[in-house]
Amino acid sequence: SLNVRKLFQFNFVYRMQTVTLIPGDGIGPEISTAVMKIFEAAKAPIRWEERNVTAIKGPGGKWMIPPDAKESMDRSKIGLKGPLKTPIAAGHPSMNLLLRKTFDLYANVRPCISIEGYKTPYTDVNLVTIRENTEGEYSGIEHVIVDGVVQSIKLITEEASRRIAEYAFEYARNNQRNSVTAVHKANIMRMSDGLFLRKCREVAENYKDIKFTEMYLDTVCLNMVQDPTQFDVLVMPNLYGDILSDLCAGLIGGLGVTPSGNIGANGVAIFESVHGTAPDIAGLDMANPTALLLSAVMMLRHMGLHDHAHKIQMACFDTIRDKKVLTKDLGGNSKCSEFTAEICRRVQDLE
């Protein structure tokens, strides 16, 4: 009977897809290994290509990511990234910035869903923040006008605003979300946020099935900490997105359990964990792979592999809800490998 079951399993043969895996630094390698193990247990049709993205100096003297990493990404179009070290006095800019520039990752998507079993003061959070990731306040254009006066330039362009608005509405439609809210401060920044808002309104015209609302940033913050259930999909420029996405991550339990995805032009998508490298626990088998795992689940959904995504997510949430095998940051005292093994066991049971 065991052989007969195995025969039936082969009837559904998914095409193997390649994913570029960037383990990262610190706890990166161990949580990447954990994710690979869980995917193997779930029999996900993923072939991993490991690459390193430490910046190197290109022929023109410009810093760039290694060509083999770029080639792998361009070919596979999907990436999974662990935490990267922030270089201080290394001479080159942050690798996250390099990746963003290389692949034109214009949208940062963070679904924030309350994890049953990981108690926070906020329950029933179910929202998605979509943040414009290329311009806005993070354009990096700063000048010293005279000694003691500094000017930072916030750049808003029609093209980028339209692009992010379109992505937000497409995402809402593809993921059965009901409304999109544009977050802005157009009462103060009349022209820049005004332009962003106008573009959102224009794009909303083409998506009549989705409700579109606008809300001031301060009102969103005020309401978010009182009743986060009123929000669905939020779209906003760079700085507000940075603050709000971290605020929402705080609502569900922090960066250790929050998934994140970056969408680029040309169909490239890189999913990542947004926590730090945690050098103090690196190599000690204490890390929590949940954030990277949930990002990988987001990746599976993006690739259309909904069954596997659902199985892995259920296994992960069940393990956390059960509270028997939890890593230290989740309130338990199990090792990372034990946590991973427990999820693998549940995934196999769900077959």
Partner: protein, 381 residues
């Protein structure tokens, strides 16, 4: 000292600017409220604004009249539907004349051309109300997810992202300038530390994003550190704004005093107001060198609840108490404040925004009844 202050703008680039700063700060410490005129009664400018502003300020006047507070209000209306600046200039002149104001929020209509700036912002920058102070405290009578919050937020109120300097250099590309200056950063940091010392607070946290905006927020942080070195009894640390919001929703009890530039101040003050129970509870004050304007901390117009007798008058009443404290009418201030807090915490008469069923007028009646019961001189109920 007066002579130094008169030549202020010429001295800004002078070498003895730090000394002048010190002199000015000592002057601010000695800032007297405007002298009472006309038989011991103060005159205060009142700007009703839009939305719930007029009705709440009406209630404030009612309570003042009832408690025989020696304050007369000079009402200046600002019509937000007009494109001209006449109204707001009248309001600013009135505040210059009286020195103190109590205001509701003036709406900024998006349908107007971008050259029409936010009236509230124009008021703040013209009067150089450089410090926005908000004290968020958990109230025992209000149900919230977090308890024991006691945070003072000091927000730079005139520059930063709110400089209103925008232009469209190329069609479809808009630039908005965020200005950070050394003088204003030193000024607000100094205000924060002085206030912390005055109130006996132990720790000041600067909120910034200097890892990305290295020059702008870097300058702000540097100024805060400079000022901090002059206050060794107070611990100083800094935190990046996104981490700050995350910490605020998980462990807000760790914060004591926070100082920050304009936009982060907007975000953090709204998050904190939400944590202690909402926009109807927290009063705010805007202080400048010569003027002070009091309002609700989160500056909401509340159009959707206007004229329905459901708005929460607590924030505006507490703001008026802050104003009375500023005018050194301490007895009246504590009497009204005590009545408001008793209504909130003991009588538990709550409006809809904090989960109750009381109306605005019921809350105000309760406040007046409590003031009367304490035996002070009052008018007829």
């Amino acid at each position: 000292m007066v002579a130094i202050c008169c030549g202020l703008d010429k001295l800004q680039n002078h070498q003895c600017w730090p000394l002048c700063c010190f002199a000015i700060n000592v002057l601010t410490l000695m800032l007297q409220p405007p002298p009472a005129k006309y038989g011991g009664r103060h005159t205060v400018t009142l700007i009703p604004g839009d939305g719930i502003g007029p009705e709440l300020l009406g209630h404030v006047r009612e309570v003042f009249r009832f408690s025989c507070v020696p304050v007369d209000f000079e009402v200046v209306n600002v019509n937000s539907a007009l494109e001209t600046e006449v109204d707001i200039n009248n309001a600013i002149t009135a505040i210059r004349r009286n020195g103190v104001a109590l205001k509701g929020n003036i709406e900024t209509k998006h349908t107007m051309p971008p050259s029409v700036k936010s009236r509230n912002n124009v008021l703040r920058t013209s009067l150089d109300l450089y410090a926005n102070v908000m004290h968020c405290q958990s109230l025992p009578g209000v149900q919230t997810r977090h308890k024991n919050i006691d945070i003072m937020i000091i927000r730079e109120n005139t520059e930063g992202e709110y400089s209103s300097l925008e232009h469209e250099s190329v069609s479809g590309v808009v630039e908005s300038l965020k200005i950070i200056t050394r003088n204003n950063s030193l000024r607000i940091a100094d205000y924060a530390f002085r206030l912390a010392r005055e109130k006996g607070r132990r720790r000041v946290t600067a909120v910034h994003k200097a890892n990305i905006m290295k020059l702008g927020d870097g300058l702000f942080l540097q100024c805060c550190r400079e000022v901090a070195s002059g206050y060794p009894d107070i611990t100083f640390d800094s935190m990046i704004v996104d981490n700050t919001t995350m910490q605020l929703v998980s462990k807000p009890q760790q914060f004591d005093v926070m100082v920050m530039p304009n936009l982060y101040g907007n975000v953090v003050s709204n998050v904190c107001a939400g944590l202690v129970g909402g926009p109807g509870l927290v009063p705010g004050a805007n202080y400048g060198r010569d003027y002070a304007v009091f309002e609700t901390a989160t500056r909401n117009t509340g159009k959707s609840i206007a004229d329905r007798n459901i708005a929460n008058p607590t924030a505006m009443l507490l703001a008026s108490c802050m104003m009375l404290d500023h005018l050194k009418l301490f007895d009246y201030a504590s009497s009204i404040r005590n009545a408001v807090l008793t209504t909130m915490n003991e009588t538990r008469l709550h409006t809809a925004d904090i989960g109750g069923q009381g109306t605005t007028s019921e809350v105000v009646q309760s406040v007046m009844r409590i003031i009367q019961s304490k035996g002070q001189l009052t008018a007829e109920l």
